[in-house]
């Protein structure tokens, strides 16, 4: 089972350069270069996914008091119906959607503004600020969460930032702090790639810096905004470090706060790998679906924007 996809994958990836490029060297030459990737891809990506799918279709059967030997049985889609049964999954996804709807626009807006500032003509010390903005991303997520958890302690600031109504936004703050710099860098690189002739032409036409930013820069970095948007949606659905750390500090964050945490709890704590795998697969599908939706939406907006 693990070998077939390898063969298939190697075949298709090998076939591609042969048909697309005209270069004469045999496809065999590409194989040594592709094998390390394929091997790692199979071992660390395809195989675990295959394993998870296999697990999600199985359950453990016991009887009576359960002191006999448990038996592994095929469960069909039973685990998948369980994912939606008790509301934990939907509550978790609901929390994340709310989180994403607020946090992602704030973070990307901030990243865009910072990138535009750095790219502006009047900007000074751009290298220094680029590093400073990016620095939080270099702090490992768990450590950042622990440090923020200390800062959120009511005794430090005098306000309860870990209460039921505030903790989601405290988490949003950590995520924004961590990721704004990263997103800024992606957008900033796109800004740097815009040919300067465009600005010169605009300036000749009498466009103000505001107008240039709004009508040239932002439309030109739209692909980067879409990219960071997709990353952020996926990242939001995979929110884990921050709530996991905060769950030890405040009862407002339960161990099933996000779907990923629930999956972990079910698999490791309750030892139900079938349901745990089903949760993570459904979550992956939701993330894929939302990303696709976002891509379609932005493509549609671009197309509409192009036709005045």
């Amino acid at each position: 089972m693990a070998v077939t996809p390898l063969a298939q994958n190697a075949r298709t990836s090998r076939a591609r350069p042969r048909t697309r490029s005209r270069w004469n060297s045999p496809g065999r030459a590409a194989a040594p270069l592709l094998i390390p990737f394929c091997l790692l891809f199979i071992v660390f990506f395809l195989a675990p996914v295959g394993y998870a799918i296999n697990e999600s279709l199985h359950a453990v059967k016991r009887s009576g008091l359960g002191f006999g030997s448990p038996e592994r049985i095929f469960a069909g889609l039973g685990n998948y119906t369980k994912v939606f049964q008790d509301g934990t999954f939907l509550a978790g996804v609901g929390r994340l959607l709310l989180f994403g709807l607020v946090q992602v626009p704030i973070m990307l807006g901030l990243a865009l503004v910072l990138a535009l500032l750095l790219d502006g003509k009047a900007a000074r010390f751009t290298r220094f600020f680029r590093v400073v903005y990016f620095l939080p991303y270099a702090v490992p997520g768990v450590i950042a969460a622990i440090v923020w958890a200390f800062l959120y302690n009511p005794e430090v600031l005098g306000v309860d930032l870990l209460g039921d109504g505030t903790v989601l936004w405290s988490m949003g703050n950590i995520v924004t702090w961590t990721w704004t710099g990263f997103n800024m860098l992606v957008i900033y690189s796109a800004l740097k790639a815009i040919p300067s002739e465009l600005y010169e032409a605009a300036a000749l036409d009498g466009a103000s810096p505001w107008k240039i930013a709004w009508s040239i820069k932002i439309p030109m970095v739209r692909p980067s905004l879409v990219l960071t948007g997709v990353f952020s949606i996926i990242g939001t659905l995979q929110l884990f470090n921050e709530p996991m750390i905060l769950s030890d500090v405040t009862p407002a964050v339960s161990k099933d706060f996000t779907p990923l945490m629930w999956s972990l709890q079910v698999a490791l704590d309750h030892n139900d790998y079938g349901l745990g795998s089903a949760i993570s697969i459904v979550l992956a599908l939701v993330a894929g679906g939302l990303s696709l939706l976002f891509l379609r939406l932005s493509a549609w907006l671009t197309a509409r924007g192009a036709r005045p």
């Binding site: 592994r72 339960s254 704590d269 030892n271």
Partner: protein
């Protein structure tokens, strides 16, 4: 298949089961050990303080059976997860510290070996109730180590400062809570831990609760029985009057509150005395121990939290040697005398109460011989309480539901009703039969 076994080596845990899945769910047999000629190594996971020293003491005198101790996080904080996933991955340690509250859950997961043949000989050395707690359907799955009789552990300096008498009943406890908080609005007599089901279960245990039982081939769950309801309403009263401080158990903030005298007491198990000693060393000498408050004055009944037997995990190649070591640690007088001092553990053996260190004073507790308080308490532990087959799930449900009470509002009793419902569901989900 060559490639597959390479992959297996590379991805370990995740892949192992997946490839085994190709072979019709058949697990790969552990590699054959050479016949036990040379020294045998027994891997042992646990978290109790003092275990590392116990292993070292054994190793010094037993060159043929070497015990390799690995400190893991305490069960509820990740230790059990680690053990269960190691069992699933087929590389579990031979011996592991598994609390009595989780033993049945491990058994239901098929994570334990039957050790009856190796443990039979030493059975008479243990108290009957201790042996009972590790025996299911006639099969012994653990070697008892310690018990967790409860007591009132308090800051003597804070009590003295505000002239608060040590409460002997829960009524007096509530009055003392009020008096202390009025004398010092920053101080609380106790903390309420919304994420500590085990601690709460000990309080319910004392009141006469029995959350789980079996009748015939079916489990019975009664987390909202009369006794537990009484305890829940009592703490609800303290919460409503804001006489207890809400703090997550085991959090830094919790220990800081003990250190600062902001929380002046805790009603907890004997092993907590050592945890405090190690977690808030700066408050050395300021603590003391008294018996747990009673519900009815003069009728002493004690609750119990924990007690962690050593269990042999599935796949162990040297169960006999593992049990031999575990039995030595629990029954050898010298070994356990060290554990009393180093681990704050209370023995489960018939002659345990006569260990020399039980009578010794503890500097952290102002040289009070605190183990004598617990030794007396141990004779009055209520015999009714038992645990079910899905303790981790019940624990999670407790944390979620009681957590809601302190963040969103609601009552403890309603939260416990929700825990009860989730506990029943969790047992059903395991495919076991259950009645409410």
């Amino acid at each position: 298949m060559r490639k597959a076994s390479l992959a297996l080596g590379l991805t370990g845990v995740l892949l192992a089961g997946g490839l085994a899945g190709c072979g019709d769910g058949e697990r790969q047999e552990p590699a054959q050990q050479p016949a036990a000629k040379g020294p045998v190594t027994v891997e042992w996971w646990g978290w109790a303080p003092g275990y590392d020293k116990a292993a070292a003491a054994w190793n010094a005198g037993h060159p043929n059976i070497q015990v390799k101790f690995t400190q893991v996080e305490s069960g509820g904080k990740g230790g059990y997860q680690k053990m269960l996933s190691a069992v699933k991955a087929g590389n579990a340690p031979c011996l592991a510290q598994v609390g009595v509250e989780t033993l049945a859950s491990f058994l239901v997961e098929g994570a334990l070996e039957d050790i009856t043949p190796y443990a039979k000989e030493s059975a008479a050395k243990f108290q009957p109730w201790a042996l009972n707690s590790v025996t299911f359907g006639g099969r012994q799955v653990g070697v008892p180590v310690d018990a967790g009789p409860m007591g009132l552990i308090y800051r003597k300096d804070v009590f003295d400062k505000h002239k608060i008498a040590v409460p002997t009943t829960w009524e007096e406890f509530a009055a003392a809570a009020q008096k202390l908080h009025e004398a010092d609005p920053k101080a609380f007599l106790a903390s309420f831990n919304p994420d500590d089901m085990y601690g709460f279960s000990g309080l319910a245990w004392q009141a006469g609760a029995s959350w789980f039982s079996t009748s015939g081939d079916s489990w019975k769950v009664s987390i909202t029985d009369e006794a537990t309801t009484k305890v829940a309403n009592y703490w609800q009263g303290l919460l409503d009057k804001k006489l207890v401080e809400v703090k997550p158990a085991w959090s830094d903030a919790w220990f800081k509150a003990f250190n600062d005298g902001e929380v002046a007491s805790l009603v907890s198990a004997v092993w907590m005395t050592k945890v405090l000693e190690e977690s808030v060393p700066k408050s050395k000498g300021k603590w003391a121990v008294a018996p747990m408050p009673d519900w009815v004055a003069g009728q002493t009944v004690t609750g119990n939290v924990g007690g962690s037997p050593n269990a042999v995990l599935k796949g162990c190649k040297n169960p006999k040697e593992a049990v031999e070591f575990a039995t030595w640690m629990s029954t050898d007088r010298g070994a356990f005398d060290d554990l009393v001092v180093n681990g704050g553990l209370f023995p489960t053996t018939t002659d345990g109460a006569s260990l020399p260190s039980i009578a010794k004073g503890r500097p952290f507790y102002g040289d009070q011989p605190i183990f004598q308080v617990f030794a007396k308490a141990a004779t009055t532990v209520a015999p009714t309480f038992a645990w079910g087959p899905t303790t981790p799930a019940v624990n999670d449900a407790f944390n979620t539901e009681v957590g809601k009470v302190v963040t969103k509002g609601g009552t403890l009793l309603d939260a416990l009703k929700a825990v009860q419902a989730k506990a029943v569901t969790s047992i059903k989900d395991k495919g076991l039969s259950v009645t409410e």
